[in-house]
Assembly symmetry: C2
Homo-oligomer: 353 residues x 2
């Protein structure tokens, strides 16, 4: 790949915009392997799914947790790797499906977790961008993200590829035809979501001097809130606190002061009434809100509305709603004089811990 | 109970100091019920344990997760209540033990989670301070915290009572005699841990003008780091970011600047070598560290060492190590001119969400 035009953060910017094509390529190339694994899981479903990941991949795992429990009805445990890797637990995983997610496939404790889980009788799957990686070698099955190399240290296209892999796999495992069909619209919808870039650049300009903000949503998009906060922390060095709308309404809402920056992700679906109530409350307290939604009623409560294309289904909305948030991290990082491609204190591969 | 001598935060201060007696009372009064349930679980162990909680109770649940997986070998899922309460998932919980933790027993979504889990065939247990609460009514079995009323909005004694209930229950379920015996030393150890109050008051004085800090540990005491950060946020309105030592060493360590405040909880045990490496690294970068430990070598790396009594076992150290952190939240809140008994934006009972 030729390098993008010079300038700070150009890899991140390019990779954000590559996502519609990356998802199309993933669906073209990897769907057969995902469908084959999904069919096997339909015949012999596990009693438990364990998802093991770190950082951005752990946010994708959290999305997977909501989808697997809601659609498939199988309980999910988000792994605490040190239980196996430091404390040497003899965890009973005989009827478990254990999925390790790692862009590089080289995160040592995720590799060790998969190796140990396999030795304890679990069926293991690696989800990674690197077919020759230690993670792929450790697992029974490997699903490839097929995004091409990710050059930016801040992960973007591998995150959405992980979401797509998980939603395709679970949809295949339960035979959810309409949801499977919904995936075909994703490249178009993601392209439309990227078209809000001017609005997002405007938010970045207005927010360039903030020190802190809240990022909130609930349900499927709680993962999007966590991933948005992580990207803002990594690339903008600002205190971006992710909080579930349920926890925010319970406590801290009362201390959200006039002018306090809040990002609210509110796609249509089962969670919308809860999120609309929060948007209305934040408007009354005159918080400085940016609301991301395709719902006109909820957008009316926004300080700055970011209008989104209609997602085919709430369960696929995280794939689309994270895109303007990645763009916000990029533009805010630039507006604050940083290079989003080279965050201080981050290395691309998770090393020995 | 007679009110404590007047002044801001006196309920919180009194309840922190009540903990040795509260734990002794819990062991005297509730051990037989816990042992009976533990024996039944030993005869017919579940395939999965699900822990459902919010806020401080969710931090106790995280401790429970490490203990159950490591000692009992049964996988744990920390519940996302909305999967059942909003999305209406048909979660397969037939062979699951589902434990709901709530001080008040009145948190609506935890009550609904337990009710639904029971209808789906799970064995359900309530851990609460209120035997007449909706949570106790919803569950098959109830374990009482027996702390007496908690008047301070910031929970302290109910947190340690939840830790003790979980560690007794799991120790009984696996027949871990030495660990059971270790509980008898807890009131004495907790009393000794409270004796560090002068040192903690000194830290509060030095830190009274900070805007942010990191709180870190790993393994069993990752829960202590989360609970410490929550208490500091609730009572001091400062940006206290909890982070696992693994994640800190991977990324943000490089941006910890000279003078940046970091709290490190480093009890002896399996995790100590990892935590000692972190303490040494933080010292080299001249972070402003407070290290809480009974290990002399690791305390030598501290800006301010907080020397702790020897815990009987790493698995019971969270019960002891949280005490100086509660005292720190109290004294720092006072030093900053707040009333820790009446945090802005917090209500005692988790209401409808």
């Amino acid at each position: 790949v030729a390098p993008p035009r010079a300038g700070p953060g150009q890899w991140m910017h390019r990779e954000i915009h590559e996502q519609p094509q990356a998802v199309a390529r993933l669906c073209d190339g990897e769907w057969p392997a995902i469908a084959a694994l999904g069919r096997r899981l339909r015949r012999t479903p596990p009693d438990l799914v364990v998802l093991a990941a770190r950082g951005t991949s752990d946010n994708a795992a959290l999305y997977g947790r909501y989808l697997i429990e809601t659609l498939w009805g199988i309980p999910v445990s988000l792994a605490a790797p040190s239980v196996l890797t430091v404390y040497g637990a003899r965890l009973r995983l005989r009827r478990a499906l254990v999925i390790g997610l790692s862009q590089s496939g080289a995160s040592p404790d995720i590799v060790e977790f998969i190796t140990t889980a396999r030795a304890r009788g679990a069926r293991t799957v690696a989800v990674t961008n690197h077919g020759g990686s230690p993670l792929a070698a450790a697992a029974h099955d490997t699903l490839l993200l097929r995004t091409g190399p990710e050059r930016s240290v801040a992960a973007t296209k591998t995150y959405t590829a992980q979401l797509v892999t998980l939603s395709l796999l679970v949809s295949e495992a339960v035979g959810a035809r309409r949801l499977l069909e919904g995936h075909r619209q994703l490249p178009t919808l993601m392209g439309r979501a990227l078209a809000v870039e001017d609005r997002v650049r405007d938010v970045a300009r207005r927010w360039r001097r903030i020190d802190e903000c809240l990022v909130t949503s609930r349900g499927y998009n709680y993962a999007t809130a966590l991933e948005t906060a992580l990207k803002l922390k990594e690339t903008c060095y600002l205190v971006a606190e992710p909080i579930s709308a349920a926890d925010l309404l319970h406590g801290p809402i009362a201390v959200v002061e006039r002018g306090f920056p809040v990002l609210l992700l509110a796609p249509p679906g089962r969670m919308l009434p809860h999120l609309a109530a929060l948007a209305s409350r934040l408007a009354r307290q005159r918080a400085r809100t940016v609301v991301v939604s395709s719902d006109r009623a909820v957008l009316r409560h926004a300080g700055v509305p970011v209008g989104m294309p209609d997602a085919p289904d709430e369960r696929l909305s995280p794939h689309v709603y994270v895109l303007p948030m990645q763009l916000l991290a990029y533009h805010l990082s630039r507006a604050r004089g940083h290079d989003p491609d080279r965050p201080r204190g981050l290395r691309k591969i998770t090393r020995a811990r």
